[in-house]
């Protein structure tokens, strides 16, 4: 059963439309991540779900109820903010218990619930502290605890890890994922970081300019990107894109290399060929491109090679153990099954 459904959701501020019809169904217990560049409307979508902003059009359904006209507190959701927003004048216990104030639970049941949440988050020792006696990671855990305590139908997270340093971010990423596996509530998580999205999500929603570009599992959006935007946004470093032309089942690159088109296409038309750096390797029987290595980035298990090809830069992967040298000439090839073709005009994937 869909736990959260968005139907043709639109939002307009003054005269600018920032959301252009968002459609999405989230299953019960699913971990969905909205990802996209800054300003694409992720937070706005989340705030509409939370009821902090009014929708301009469309419908939001939570737990089988249309909630468009309900107050945030009536929507059975909880939200964790980027800035944590835990109250500095209250102890951790009070902060976590704050969401229960209006629950009507008796005091004993509340205390029990707070202790339970504190135990799950491993914060029992911190309950009597004030926020200014906590580290950034601990504060974020308090904020999560405050959201958990009411056991909402949907958790909303708005870039909750952006204020943490890189190491802590990786750690909290894992913690939130484990937490989700344990408590099993539906989560809608917003981030601009595609690594976060890939590592945490059951399903990723990729947004751009107020429109959903693609919805799919991490594997789907990585291996079958719906358009050039998704192809370049997901995966680091970005997918290499080449202008090419298809005619009579033959693909011809700007440098004259030809190969059998990886997808059967009719007619004579310009296309864009996309190859991930991971799939572009030196050597091979049918080299696609030739160039000189300009910069090397050793990453340990592998080395990224920035190769100058006919005046532009192409990123390829090389061995970590026996890397090539800067200045070397290389010929690059790729397995046709790892190539992606896009329409040159619309950017949509061709398949």
């Amino acid at each position: 059963m869909a736990n959260l459904a968005l139907r043709n959701l639109t939002k307009t501020y003054d005269k600018t439309q920032v959301l252009h019809g968002i459609d999405l169904a989230v299953e019960d217990g699913e971990f969905v991540v909205f990802v996209g560049p800054s300003g694409c409307g992720k937070s706005t979508t989340l705030r509409l779900i939370a009821g902090l902003e009014e929708v301009s059009g469309g419908e939001i359904e939570i737990d089988g109820r249309i909630v468009n006209n309900l107050e945030p507190k009536e929507r059975n959701i909880a939200m964790v903010f980027q800035n944590y927003a835990i109250y500095p004048h209250m102890s951790v216990r009070k902060n976590i218990g704050f969401g229960l104030r209006t629950s009507g639970l008796p005091q004993a049941a509340r205390t029990k619930r707070i202790d339970e949440v504190a135990r799950i988050l491993d914060m029992t020792d911190l309950l009597d502290r004030k926020p200014n006696q906590l580290s950034g990671g601990q504060r974020q855990r308090v904020a999560i605890g405050r959201a958990m305590v009411r056991n909402p139908a949907v958790f909303l997270f708005d870039e909750p890890l952006s204020n943490l340093d890189a190491q802590l971010r990786t750690q909290m990423r894992l913690e939130i994922k484990k937490l989700h596996q344990r408590v099993g509530n539906t989560i809608v998580f917003v981030t601009h970081d595609q690594v976060e999205a890939m590592t945490m999500a059951d399903r990723i929603v990729i947004m751009k300019d107020g429109r959903i570009q693609q919805v799919g599992t991490p594997a789907q959006v990585y291996h079958k990107p719906a358009n050039t935007f998704v192809a370049q946004f997901i995966g680091a470093p970005s997918m290499n894109m080449f202008e090419a032309r298809v005619s009579a089942g033959q693909l011809t690159l700007a440098n004259g290399s030809t190969l059998a088109a990886p997808v059967p296409l009719f007619g004579d038309r310009p296309v864009i060929l996309g190859i991930r750096p991971d799939d572009l390797v030196a050597g091979g029987d049918a080299p696609l491109l030739e160039g000189r290595i300009e910069v090397l980035e050793p990453l340990g298990s592998e080395t990224l090679a920035y190769v100058g090809v006919a005046g532009r830069e192409v990123i390829a992967k090389a061995s970590g153990r026996a890397p090539p040298a800067v200045g070397d000439s290389v010929s690059l090839s790729a397995d046709p099954s790892n190539m992606h073709l896009f329409d040159a005009e619309t950017g949509e994937a061709l398949s």
Binding site: A50, P72, K73, I77, F81, N83, A85, F98, R101, R139
Partner: protein, 294 residues
């Protein structure tokens, strides 16, 4: 004050290019600065010292400007504290200053919060309208206030003394500015947690601006405690006088009884001292930020 400030800046910036000569000049700067501060301090403290000193003198000694009374006495204190009129005035002043303080802290912050955190049409105009009343001096307002009190039967009552100060434009402005420092995330988090707008204001926003509330409380209490013109105009009967008004009447009975006026004034500084001591500990900066970020 400004001169002392100016002097501090120059020597320090020269000290950066440090050598012995600038160091000596810095010392000279220090000396001048301390002398100015000392002079300012003395100028401010002397009236207070004379007030206390005079309150400890017998009438014959009042016009000798000696600081230490030859025959110190507490008789004036007995006289003043034993006088029923002083008790009336003190009581009136306490009542009025306390009620106006409570009222200002409550209503100024309520209005300031609304103007700051709710986006409604015309709020900017409302804010400007409130601010513009700051430019009208009390002296101009006294006549309309008087006419209004006369028509509504508020002359010579506590309410008549208090009503013009129950809310102040300055307080609204101060609180609005301070609520700007309360991040919207706190308010939205509380909204999701199920609080209504009044509860959000009271139990989330207000605790975060405690320093401003304390400052406002001090300003309002002192302002009303020392207010003179309006209480003088609106009151007739001695039972309704406030302390500042009442104290001046000590002088009109037989002769100017300076030692009693000074004694009353000395006693009347006590509540201001207490209010200041109570509230100043709330004036600690940076409380708001502790709940945010890392």
């Amino acid at each position: 004050m400004a001169t002392a400030e100016d002097l501090t800046i120059k020597p320090t910036s020269q000290a950066l290019l440090s050598d012995t000569a600038p160091a000596r000049r810095q010392n000279l700067g220090q000396v001048i600065r301390w002398m100015l501060l000392f002079g300012g301090g003395v100028a401010m403290v002397m009236p207070l010292v004379y007030m206390i000193s005079t309150s400890l003198k017998f009438p014959f000694e009042v016009y000798n400007l000696n600081l230490i009374p030859e025959e110190p006495t507490l008789e004036n204190y007995q006289l003043v504290l034993g006088d029923i009129r002083f008790a009336w005035w003190f009581g009136n002043s306490i009542l009025i200053a306390t009620l106006t303080t409570v009222s200002n802290v409550f209503f100024d912050s309520l209005v300031g919060y609304t103007l700051c955190k709710f986006k409604f049409r015309g709020r900017y105009i409302v804010f400007i309208a409130i601010l513009s009343t700051l430019m009208i001096p009390t002296e101009m307002l006294v006549i309309p206030w008087y006419l209004m009190s006369q028509q509504l039967g508020w002359l010579d009552t506590h309410w008549g003394i208090m009503f013009p100060g129950m809310m102040t434009a300055f307080g609204v402005f101060l609180m609005k500015q301070f609520f700007e420092t309360v991040p919207d995330d706190f308010i939205e988090a509380a909204r999701i947690d199920g609080l209504n707008e009044f509860q959000i204001w009271w139990s989330v926003a207000m605790p975060l601006v405690k320093p401003a509330l304390a400052a406002l409380a001090i300003f309002v209490f002192l302002g009303n405690w020392t207010a003179f013109i309006w209480p003088l105009i609106v009151t007739n009967s001695p039972e309704m006088y406030t302390l500042p008004v009442g104290l001046t009447t000590f002088s009109v009975e037989q002769q100017v009884e300076w030692e009693l006026i000074m004694t009353g004034a000395a006693i009347s500084t006590l509540p201001t001292l207490i209010v200041f001591l109570i509230f100043q500990r709330f004036i600690i900066r940076g409380v708001v930020m502790a709940g945010l970020k890392g």
